[in-house]
């Protein structure tokens, strides 16, 4: 039996890596992927807690999160396409018309 804590710590590590990736990466798509990574970390925590608590609702939440992630992905990628079209770049650092 794996202690719940292990899972949660793993989720924290993955979440942290997601945050790290968000800052580190320049490509919009990859940055978006790091968000997905963070959401996955959340899912892991939900399932782990669900198992620890012996309640199913945690898993239901995971389903919802996945749906939301899908919806976000659809819109997000739409935006990314828009940006790529408008700017001919996928580098977030190049998209800085709005500032100061």
């Amino acid at each position: 039996m794996v202690p719940t804590n292990y899972y949660v710590i793993l989720s924290a590590i993955l979440f942290g890596l997601g945050v790290f990736a968000f800052i580190f990466k320049r490509n919009v798509i990859t940055i978006f992927m790091s968000i997905e990574l963070m959401l996955n970390a959340v899912n892991l925590a939900f399932v782990a807690f669900s198992q620890a608590l012996g309640k199913l609702d945690g898993q239901v939440f995971v389903l919802f999160v996945i749906v939301v992630a899908a919806a976000e992905a659809a819109v997000g990628l739409g935006i990314i396409i828009l940006i790529a079209r408008n700017r001919q770049t996928l580098n977030v650092e190049r998209v800085d018309l709005l500032k100061l």
């Binding site: 292990y6 890596l17 990859t30 997905e36 399932v47 012996g54 919806a71 659809a74 739409g78």
Partner: protein, 167 residues
């Protein structure tokens, strides 16, 4: 070391390596593949915890549909190797240090508070897909219905954003 623990370590190592690889890879397609590795590893962990339904959804929806969408977009936009600019002063070492600090803090806090997670009592119920569906359609029917509208929003949004000008 028990078998589940061994499996856990293997899968979690896989997940972490995948995540790190996502960061290290220069080409988005490689990053996407690394992410899929993470997702698969997580699906394995879900199985390990006995959450088969979630694991399946993870593979099908996440690993399958969503990541395919990613790859599709990468291909569509013909995204090349990541351009390594450093225009942001903050996002250099200081920002990364902050991110690392945040991650470390969250992980450490969770590690220290392990006792506060309530102990597992009944694991058997977890495998019940029926239970899940009952919950979705009974207890959580309202958010569930809302997610349907959410998907509508997504569809609508995607078309609004990505469609070519009519003129």
């Amino acid at each position: 070391m028990t078998t589940p623990l061994l499996v856990f370590f293997v899968l979690s190592a896989l997940a972490v390596i995948g995540a790190v690889n996502l960061i290290l890879q220069k080409h988005p397609i490689h990053s996407a593949l690394s992410l899929i590795v993470v997702m698969v590893a997580l699906a394995g962990l879900y199985l390990l915890m006995g959450a088969e339904f979630v694991a399946a959804v993870q593979i099908i929806v996440y690993g399958g549909a969503i990541m395919v969408l990613f790859v599709f977009v990468i291909m569509l936009l013909n995204a090349g190797v990541e351009e390594h600019t450093s225009l942001s002063k903050l996002a250099g070492p200081p920002g990364l240090l902050l991110a690392a600090a945040l991650a470390a803090f969250v992980a450490a806090t969770i590690a220290r508070s392990g006792a506060s997670v309530q102990a597992a009592t009944q694991t058997g119920a977890l495998s019940s897909t029926k239970g899940i569906s009952e919950m979705v359609f009974k207890d959580f029917v309202y958010p569930f219905e809302l997610t349907s509208f959410l998907i509508l929003v997504a569809i609508l949004g995607a078309t609004v954003l990505a469609q070519r000008e009519k003129s």
